[in-house]
């Protein structure tokens, strides 16, 4: 395995800034279409990647409809099923949902949908903030390999990938440029 470490990691850009923006715009329209407007609509982004995409979605929808819609940030660390067993330790971040989710239509936003475990944790967390009328899932990338019966309602792009590859959504808010890359896994 040590040879693998020294080998250059191959990296392929699968979506550029323009394509990401078009996908987000389309998802915003689909959300409005499916929910017939913004009544009771709230957007919740999963920290960290989903949070920025959720903000962009919120801005696009608010601009189209001319009113601000409620927006929250969810950190799912405390709801993970591997938090005390996994060696990969995500740092605990702040959750910020300053309104009740009772009877709301919640659009849950994440960057990449993979095993579905993050979404399971997120749904458990959301229920602690009230009883939403419904929860819909919007993701930029669906890369397959589900381990739980979960699917997205709004998808930017379906990206077939090997289980061992890494799909990273880079956004200007964090890395300075918008792109989706697929890389060989770090061994």
């Amino acid at each position: 395995m040590s040879e693998g470490k020294e080998k250059m990691k191959t990296k392929k850009v699968v979506m550029n800034a323009e394509e990401i923006d078009r996908s987000v715009t389309r998802i915003a329209c689909e959300i409005l279409e499916a929910n017939m407007g913004i009544e009771d609509l709230v957007i919740i982004g999963i920290r960290a990647g989903g949070m920025f995409l959720a903000k962009r979605l919120r801005d696009k929808i608010s601009r189209t409809e001319g009113t601000e819609i409620p927006f929250g940030i969810l950190d799912i660390t405390l709801y993970r099923d591997d938090i005390l067993t996994s060696n990969r330790k995500p740092t605990l971040g702040k959750t910020d949902i300053s309104f009740s989710l009772d009877l709301k239509k919640v659009i849950l936003v994440d960057d990449v949908l993979f095993t579905g475990r993050t979404i399971r944790a997120a749904m458990d967390a959301l229920i602690d903030f009230g009883r939403p009328k419904l929860i819909q899932l919007a993701v930029l990338i669906d890369r397959g390999h589900r381990e739980l019966p979960i699917r997205a309602d709004f998808v930017g792009r379906n990206l077939p990938s090997s289980f061992w590859e890494e799909v990273n959504v880079c956004l200007t808010e964090t890395t300075g440029n918008d792109e989706v890359v697929i890389e060989e896994a770090k061994l």
Binding site: D75, T77, L78, Y79, I83, L84, T85, K89, P90, T91, L92, G93, K94, T95, D96, S100, D124, A125, D128, F129, G130
Partner: protein
């Protein structure tokens, strides 16, 4: 980042990075206590024993609530209602508790070093909830969290700790923590209550309240331990109060944005005037609220979270 420690025995063992990790984690936990459903499933299936050999309201309740809000099972034992009254030694009690497989044991004991002995003896994580006049690390951490959330920083602030410094585990832990985090600390009290060589801990010493508090950002008052009255450390409550209380007169000397803290329980009218304790500058109840978040953070980090 992960806390690479089995136990939390004192602030003395914690680096600046570790204190920052604990405070940052605690800040994230503050929000959980404001929800309608004040509970997260993180420590499901973990058992926490709170073993208190000394009287306590806030620390004991705070640890119990912290454990419960993380979904751990918490068990409380008091010395007065346990086999300790039948003469069982601390070692035997500890081994007995260990055999029931808890994950974390929180202990308060009147003997300095009791938690350290326990930590060597059992495989579980030990948290020191106060040992004699030695350390009270969770109090210092909640005080530092309170300062950080109220003032936005700790480094560079001037903090006065006033009262019976010599007998105070709260003072000792706070001095260690605040100095490590880059604050300037002044201790103030009657000479009988200031340990000799305390300046070696990196603090300044003052024997006059007015001098000490005039440029302070934070004034931390300590409880005068009335149960020590027999030790003749001071002539009377009234005399102590005249010279070393924080009151409506001397607070005027302090900066307009000074904030006042007290670990509780307070002796109203002795070390702190009721108007100050209940006033707008007081952080006393915020300290209690923050205590739950700090203890949640410690339980979470010791159980393997990050």
């Amino acid at each position: 980042m992960k806390l690479s420690k089995k136990d939390i025995l004192g602030i003395k063992d914690l680096s600046r990075e570790e204190i920052n990790l604990i405070l940052d984690t605690a800040e994230s936990f503050l929000e959980v206590s404001t929800r309608k459903i004040k509970k997260v499933p993180t420590l499901r299936g973990k058992t926490i024993i709170n073993f208190f050999f000394e009287a306590s309201t806030r620390t004991k309740t705070s640890f119990e609530i912290a454990g419960k809000r993380l979904s751990a099972d918490t068990v409380n034992i008091s010395a007065t209602t346990s086999s300790v009254v039948k003469g069982e030694t601390l070692t035997d009690t500890a081994r007995t508790l260990e055999a029931m497989n808890p994950d974390i044991i929180v202990i308060r004991h009147s003997a300095a070093g009791a938690p350290h002995m326990l930590a060597r003896l059992v495989k579980q994580s030990i948290i020191n909830a106060g040992d004699g006049a030695h350390e009270h690390p969770t109090q210092a951490l909640l005080d530092m969290l309170t300062i950080k959330t109220e003032k936005g920083r700790i480094a560079g602030l001037k903090v006065v700790i006033a009262g019976d410094i010599a007998h105070s585990r709260v003072a000792r832990s706070n001095i260690l923590g605040l100095i490590e985090m880059g604050a300037q600390v002044t201790v103030c009290g009657p000479a009988m209550m200031i340990p000799r060589d305390i300046d070696k801990m990196g603090v300044s010493v003052s024997y006059h309240m007015n001098d000490a508090i005039k440029d302070a950002d934070i004034i931390m008052m300590l409880r005068i331990q009335l149960e020590r009255q027999g030790d003749n450390l001071f002539p009377s409550d009234r005399e102590y109060s005249n010279y070393f209380s924080l009151n409506n007169r001397n607070i005027k000397i302090a900066k307009p944005d000074v904030l006042v803290m007290h670990p509780g329980p307070i002796n109203r009218g002795i070390e702190i005037a009721p108007d100050i304790a209940d006033g707008v500058k007081s952080l006393i109840l915020k300290q209690v609220t923050n205590g739950v978040a700090v203890r949640m953070a410690l339980l979470y980090l010791l159980a393997g979270g990050a």
